[in-house]
Symmetry: C2
Subunit: 177 residues, 2 copies
């Protein structure tokens, strides 16, 4: 199966204390669920090494882009015709927007941290809520990636890789190549 | 809308270094996406206070149960006819199992950390993979809760609450009662 959409992810509004575990989850979820890259403003370099290791072990060419100011990322995305989808508990319910979102081919999904500037709400083409309850930007991103791609992302192949899992009902089966 | 299923979540295989941010995400995702409780073996008491605050502000009666050994939780779940669904990248692909899982009314969803004992794989009624790629137990839990409930969990009401969000296309609207 090939995924035809081009989906990028942008993280804005990080905490003062860098929360590298949350960022690692956001990177790996973006990669596993069909995004091509994630923009992170400020992050430990360790995350790049982790992603390199994951790509070389499990396939694909997902990448993190560091140091681009979020305003520039959003501006350039809009200039190239990408729809900007901001995930926020204050937004419109995902079930009301999902059909429209599925029709988009090129997206920038903006994932907020605790402090998201008001400009993000105004610049976004869509402010979308995965429930109006507080939970997790990792979970919200996962459900939106899943819904936008209609579940097809779960069947995706990552091409050549050193390790590959053979699905198993009761244990662990891993092929090494 | 009422959710008719009874879904509980169990976390097993935590790290030596307690990873309370991941646990907080797991708790809040379980609550927001329709589970009734989560079992955590060992956790900072702070998490209980966070959940109390979230319930009193945003509604519902989700709770965390601390200190129950995971073997006991699984044994008791099976004894009361609950299906045990273990989420693991080594399991069977979710798309192959989702219809069967939707037919279940009472579930215990087991979320692994980095170290999951082999007994969990054998005791589970289902070992299910949300992709065979490494990513995030928070994301895997979110997608499985979402799929098992057919998206209905996104429309759920949390009943009486101090604050309630009025969905908005461009900003933040919150009702206080």
């Amino acid at each position: 199966m090939s995924l035809t959409k081009s989906i990028r992810v942008l993280r804005v509004g990080q905490r003062y204390v860098r929360d590298d575990r949350t960022l690692t989850h956001l990177c790996l979820v973006s990669r596993a669920l069909g995004a091509e890259s994630i923009y992170l403003e400020d992050v430990e370099k360790d995350i790049l090494r982790t992603l390199d290791e994951v790509n070389s072990t499990w396939g694909g060419s997902f990448r993190a882009v560091l140091g681009e100011p979020w305003k520039k990322v959003i501006r350039e995305a809009k200039a190239e015709g990408r729809a900007v989808v901001h995930l926020t508990m204050y937004g419109m319910p995902l079930p009301e927007k999902v059909e429209e979102l599925r029709g988009l081919e090129r997206l920038l999904i903006v994932v907020g941290g605790p402090k998201v500037p008001g400009k993000v709400y105004h610049d976004a083409d869509y402010n979308v809520a995965v429930t109006s309850q507080p939970h997790s930007e990792i979970a919200a991103l996962a459900i939106v990636l899943h819904e936008i791609q209609g579940g097809e992302e779960l069947k995706r192949s990552f091409g050549k890789s050193r390790l590959r899992i053979l699905p198993s009902a009761t244990g662990k089966r891993v092929l090494e190549s």
